[in-house]
Structure formats: C-alpha cells, structure tokens
Point group: C2
Chain length 361, copies 2
Amino acid sequence: MPRAWNFSAGPATLPEPVLRKAQSEMLEWRDAGASIVEISHRGPEFMEVAAAAEGALRTLLSIPDDYAVLFTQGGATTQQALIPLNFAAPGQPADYVLTGHWGKTALKQAKPYVATHVSATSEADNFRSIPARDTWQFAADSAYVHITANETIHGVEFRDIPDTGEIPLVADFSSSIASEPVDISKFGIIYAGAQKNLGPVGISVTIVRRDLLERDGQPRADIFDYRSQLKAESMLNTPPTWNWYMLGLNVQWMLDEGGVEAFAQRNARKAQLLYAAIDGSNGFYRNEVEASVRSRMNVPFFLRDEALEKAFLAESKDAGLLALKGHRAVGGMRASIYNAMPEAGVQALADFMRDFAGRHG
Amino acid sequence: MPRAWNFSAGPATLPEPVLRKAQSEMLEWRDAGASIVEISHRGPEFMEVAAAAEGALRTLLSIPDDYAVLFTQGGATTQQALIPLNFAAPGQPADYVLTGHWGKTALKQAKPYVATHVSATSEADNFRSIPARDTWQFAADSAYVHITANETIHGVEFRDIPDTGEIPLVADFSSSIASEPVDISKFGIIYAGAQKNLGPVGISVTIVRRDLLERDGQPRADIFDYRSQLKAESMLNTPPTWNWYMLGLNVQWMLDEGGVEAFAQRNARKAQLLYAAIDGSNGFYRNEVEASVRSRMNVPFFLRDEALEKAFLAESKDAGLLALKGHRAVGGMRASIYNAMPEAGVQALADFMRDFAGRHG
C-alpha cells in the first residue's frame, strides 16, 4: 500500500521530506564517501551534524544559554532513573505528580534511589483530570517535583506550567515537546524521547538548568553521570549517530515550517477538528478527559458500542488511516496527531469517523 | 565523492546491499503504509522484524538455548555499568583483566558498584600483549571475570578463550563478534555494541547464560534490570526500532555470505594481507603487538617517520581509503577491517602502503 495517514503514538509518522532526504543520503552523505551511519562520531562531518542539530533545537525551543542540552540513549525511561541519581542525595525526598501511566513509570524508576512522595494524583478518577495546583503537597527538602507534561496513553495534558516555587520542576515532555511555545526558564529539567515530535526512536533530549548540575547526586557509573556526558558533548561513548542526524533533519524541518508558533496553531486546529468529531457524534464516540486538560497530541476515544471496534479498525485501515487502536492499558481507540501529522490527515480521520457513525449509528 | 573504502573503527562500513535495502524501504516497509521507523514496536510488522533478527543472530552465532539474548540501548559502556548491578552483590569482588583501553573503561564503570580487582594487566608494556592465563589472580568470592575479547584501540585480541573455572567469564565482544566461530557455552555473558560487526550504532546485544539471571544483583531501577528486560522481550520501553531492523538486515547478510566460518577465513586473509604489508616494509611501517595476539579486526600501525603521517592521511584519502588515522590515545594509523570490509578494500590499502613507502622510503 502507498503511504497512509499514520496515527501511531510513537514511533510515529515522520515528515515525508525528512524521509526522502535520509533516503537520498543513505549511501553517501554529501562528499564523505560513506553514509552518515558509517562514519566516526568524532570526525568533522558528524561533529557538524551534531552541532547543527543542537543549534537548531536551541533555536526551535528558545533554549536559554544557562540550560545545557544532552543527547542520550535509553529513552525517557532511562532518564527517569538517571534524574534521581544525578539530582537527589541517596534517600532524599522527591515529589511526583501523577496524571497518567507515564507519571507512574517515572515514579517506579525513581523508587530505588529516592524517598518518592506523591504530591497529587488523579488516579482515583482514572486519570481524566489534573489535580488543582493548590492541592499539591510537597515533601520537606524535596529534590524536585516531577510532572508528565502530556500523558500519551490517557490523553491528559498540562495547559499551564505549575509554579513549584523554589523546588525545581522536572517534566517529561516526550509526547508534546516542540508542539507549542514553552517558557523553558520555568523548568529545572525537561526531557523527551525523540520518537513523537523530534524524530526517530533511539535518541532522547534532556535540557538541564546548569546550576542543577552542581548537585552531587549519588554514587553512579560515569556513563550515568550528566556532568560527564556534558563535558564529553554527549559523546562519552559512541552516540546513536543516525538517530541524531534524523533528529537534526526533523528539527530543521520544523524551523522551515515556521517553528513552534506555527505548529501551535496547526495543532490547535487539528485537535479542535478531532474533538469536534467526537463531541458532535451524539455519543457514538466519547472522550472522557476533562475538557480543559484534553491533550492536543493524543486523542483517546471510545465507541459507545464496543462491538463495533473491530469494524472501526478494519474499515479505517482500508481507508488509509493507520494505528488507531488504543493502548492496551485503557482500550478503545487513540489518534496521535503530532507535528508531522498534516491537517489533511486529521480531516480524513474526522470525515471517516462521521461516515462510520452514519453507517453504524 | 563515490563510496570509498572506509576503515573507520566504528561506526564502521556497512554492506552496500544492506544500505540499498534500507534505502529502498525508507518510505514504505513492505505493505505497512509507512516506514519501519514510523510504526509501533508492538505491532505485528516490527515484532516480526525483531524476532527475525534474534532468530538470525542465534543461527549466526550458534547461541545455545540456555542463553538469553537482550537488545539494549546505551552501547557497551552502559552494559559495563549494568553487569555489576545485575550480577554482583553490593561491594562483592569482581575480576577484571586489562589488555587495553576498553578493559579500563569497563573497570571504571564497575567501580561504584563492586570491589573491582585487577586479575592481570598488560599496561606496563603499553598493552602490546595479553598476560598468560597462569599469571591471573582471582579475588575470593568473585562475581565474574571480565575480559575484552578484542581491544579496538590497541589492536590486541584473545585468540583462545581463557578457562576461568567456576567463575563466569564475561566478555566485551564489541569489535569482534561474529568475526569467527566462538563457543558461547564457555562464557557467562557476551556483550557487544552493534556498530562494528553487527550494524549501526544505537543498539547492543547481550547474551546471558540464563542461570546467571537468578542472581539478585543490587538495588537498581527497573529499566536497568536484565530480568525485566528479558520478560519484556527487550521492549521494557520503546526500543531503537530502525537500529534493530538494520541489525537484522546485517545479520541476514552475514548468513547469506556463508556465516561466521566464511568470515573467519576472509578475515584471516585480510589480516594476513595487512600485517604482511607492515612486516614486509623494512621498518617503514611497524605494528608493535605481540604476533600471537594481533587483532584480526583493528590493525594499528606507525610510520617510522612521523613527519610523513599527514602526507599518508592526505594521499590515502585521495586514493579512496578513508579514516586511517589512529585513535588519539595511541596515535599513528589504524585500519579497521570488520566483516563488511571486502578483501578488495584491504588489498587496495596494502597496495597503497607499498606504493607510499616506495615513494617516501
């Protein structure tokens, strides 16, 4: 089949111009005499690719100079283990706000290293909301407060940056980074796996306020040490070069398309289109998330008649709409509509949903 | 420039048919309607790719059933931190045999977690040899003995598997895995970053005797736990899918080319060709490694007249021979001649070396 509209939650659809560029350079990168994936990470060619990617990312996200950028392996989950190791003393308290599956994963990774403290959780209502900031309770001497900016499975997204005062705010931005302007100076640490909005899986980005790197943390291998990684320019060992190169192509594509301001507008229109199709279906479809914190990136929805799920998935696939099955943790359907998903794709999905509801309603 | 003979130590040259296949599938993988890098790791398409890669690797390396295979991120250096965490009690002794730079790296990563004990080291002779097995001293209650099967920088390779009795032998095979038949049952753990003989950087392979997974190890995040990774089929979080796919294509290519027996013969001829060019140069070139442990994968060499190094690098590049500069830790030159380097490439290098010596000798 030809390329379809791909609503996968991550790994996710990539911009076609980026794939075509990577395809054209697969055997020879510029005049290197080899593919970018075959050459030394320490040679001038790849060093240029790496530096250009960081420069473009700094421009795209308006990263202040007093923030370091690390490119790492192991995905966001590895960062969730490394953050307590680097920024908390052994057994020091650290606060976690739980608004979905991934917040719980972050909590789990930290447990061996810190006295985790749940400041607030919306688990009692199945993660359909975000607890009001004034209900959050912080532990004394807390190392940081961790939030998940956007919950990919539950479709819940912070629409305001919570004020945590003197306690550094740490945020998992895996599924919403670069989707709209964000004031990075409000955060201590932002981290994100690349495979939703930044490129291919296999590389992650961690943005750290430099003064936090002065914390001693706790005993750890050098490869787990952010200071060592920063000193080595994220090349303490061989980095995932192709993934880094692809991230750079993606970020440049986002700049060429108008940057985060342009994507914020597109993404708002896309989300509006899809939630309107759901809310206007007279209950044929439903999304249960509190309206004020509905995700602009991941839209989970359920069919009133569960028996129609199989038909919905089969017919949508036939219509060229891929990967709409919801995560097994919640069931139902889910459409992920990251930056690389064009408005035309979301329109096609909304049209299909209306048509399907008309035929089966 | 067109594709040249690329002697990079890693990331390293890949087989051209593999690159062409990846290029042809970059926008659409079979009938998936998307690239392999854009689809869910838990969908049937990628699950098939992942399983096929493991199956092919098991066939290629004759991995016994009582060994598990893990596909992980973070490179060999991360494995060097995870091995003590998973297989040694806190502060338990573990033995390290040092035969070059990478053995020292392994030792460094382990230090925060175990009582590291250097059983033997050839550092006093600048890592030009391997200490005789009967000189090795093991700590009492040692968790394992770690060796580096092939030292990529120093060009020193174990040509026999040392017998460590009841203490499990752990080996970093990053730069020589799949280069010849190896009896895996002699090892407790074999690990390797992919970027020399197995594919692109960004994915590693760890082969573990299953009974060792019953060890408690020490407190660690779930993402650092081999048992959890095995239970999740190396998908505790999103794996680097493109890198895994490329590894599978590379392994299948090695099987199609005749497997490790065929590569052992080719690699012996390639190494012979290059060492003969060095040894037959009347001292114009020299390799200082003890002949019995010279690496078949990485051939470091020096020019008698260091002032000619710049000319050697410039002229070799003009002749289509790339990345011959030695590692900064030892200087001089180095040619890495992994499985994907054809005999014709090594012949071209040997011819160039004779010609260069003739003109400058």
